[in-house]
Symmetry: C2
Subunit: 199 residues, 2 copies
């Protein structure tokens, strides 16, 4: 079982209770038997706006949530890797693309589901001959100019946010990464964005 | 029990085994009884370089690791909050300081211990009369000019990195956040920084 926040719900064989551990100030899952505290914290999603000749690489999701809708190559960061490495791994796994990361385009807090999303701007490692193909979690992968992005079939609000950040930054040097939009400063709206997409 | 990466080690009453779940590509802790997958992912540390009149707010740690050494107000981000809110909460909890966040100063991956550290630049909410006091996890809290920072008593390498980022950025608008230094691009060195501090 996975909670709506992606956190751990422990096996029913364990004797975990919810209480404030010594020296802490909020309730945690604590084993009544041995005192072990199972901390649940937000997870990091790493991804990239991969650009080639003013077009952006997008993936049509082969899995739920939002199967059939378009997203950026992105996913949960894993133990043992850096944020850059995680974003590059996701681009390879989901879009068959080897990328070179240029900088941090946006950092979005999605408090509703316990996520921080770090979205980088990247180019293809072989810029002259961009290669990509659908990975296991993608139905198809394609490059879109701004005008041809499938705006009515975007998977998540943060995909809109990242694409807007790319549009605003242009191709030049990156400045401060953008954050959540004023309309959803904490990432708590289940529905937002022009397509009414659901995170 | 907490693993060295901060991850969850489940109760000995559970029947968890390490295997690759269907549709995944790496080993996870899976309950042999019910199939529940206990994902372990990096955790987010949020903190701030809080500046007043060209001085930076630092805390001397009252707890291990590195008890007695100096650090920035920072700690694990919690479920239900944004990264900004987490950094502000830590400044309040550890240094009794109400802060206003200005932007993202540095993002550091510490692959060795499964962390991403997001360090913001901030000022005191009441800039004219900065207030601070040691919280439960601090022995003392103080403002230091660059020259008076206790360089030989810094708790962690990333404190050095964040302070250097502050120095480089100055008081002006913030650009791209800095990342790991070239000497430790993945955050894998247990010892680094001028004080030989240990993360």
């Amino acid at each position: 079982m996975i909670g709506s926040n992606g956190g751990v719900i422990l096996s029913r064989m364990s004797a975990f209770v919810r209480r404030v551990p010594d020296g802490d100030n909020r309730e945690r899952l604590v084993c009544a038997d041995c005192g072990f505290v199972a901390y649940e914290n937000p997870k990091i999603v790493v991804g990239a706006v991969v650009v080639s000749d003013e077009k952006v690489l997008m993936c049509r999701r082969a899995i739920n949530p939002r199967k059939g809708f378009w997203t950026l190559p992105a996913g949960y960061m894993e133990l043992g890797e850096t944020a850059h490495e995680g974003a590059a791994r996701e681009a390879l796994e989901e879009a068959g693309a080897e990328i070179a990361i240029e900088g941090l385009l946006g950092v979005f807090s999605i408090a509703r589901i316990g996520q921080v999303q770090m979205i980088f701007r990247a180019r293809f490692a072989n810029a002259g001959e961009p290669r990509f193909e659908a990975g296991e979690e993608s139905l198809e992968v394609a490059l879109f100019s701004w005008e041809t992005i499938p705006w009515t079939e975007i998977a998540f609000p943060s995909v809109h946010w990242a694409l807007q950040a790319w549009r605003s930054a242009g191709a030049g040097p990156l400045g401060q990464p953008v954050g959540n939009p004023p309309a959803d400063p904490r990432g708590t709206h289940p529905m937002s964005g022009s397509a009414g997409a659901q995170a």
